[in-house]
Amino acid sequence: GESVGLHLPTLSVQEGDNSIINCAYSNSASDYFIWYKQESGKGPQFIIDIRSNMDKRQGQRVTVLLNKTVKHLSLQIAATQPGDSAVYFCAEMENTDKLIFGTGTRLQVFP
């Protein structure tokens, strides 16, 4: 698929459990932090974002947490489903609109 078989860290969870995917970022000047999901054979898809002046934002079954002190971002997925299996990327954006992606994490959901 279009994720090109990346050698990525993998998180394996059982269906119904909660998943937590972590990301460390480097640029203190970033204004937005974003999570993307990439399924096999497809381009990345926006999941949720958070501004740098926030520390938590919730969506449908997903929550993003931002800790600027340690430059850490996490994505929590509640009641993980088989359809959540994908590669997840964190990304950061400065006010220049430059969107930089971090390394991904492969999420595998087992029945």
Binding site: G5, H7, Y32, I34, P44, F46, M93, D97, I100
Partner: protein, 112 residues
Amino acid sequence: DARVTQTPRHKVTEMGQEVTMRCQPILGHNTVFWYRQTMMQGLELLAYFRNRAPLDDSGMPKDRFSAEMPDATLATLKIQPSEPRDSAVYFCASGLGQGRAFFGQGTRLTVV
């Protein structure tokens, strides 16, 4: 259903040939990105445009790669001459800023 359209989906070419990849961003989006995805490097930003003006192409090998937006409905990425190390999936994305970019399906390039 608005989407970013990339052509071709697949391209196999011989080393030394010119390759042109095309992208039709979502109508009304003012920011366009080109990314390359490989096994080793993940998603690399090659270049991006705002209102058709190039803002940053520092991620692109200047001697062989070029990116342009002839008009608001077309972005192109050219490689001349192509090399085997250029083999990758190339993604175009468009957006209105604030990190929410919409990606196309990608062009899988193989240079032999």
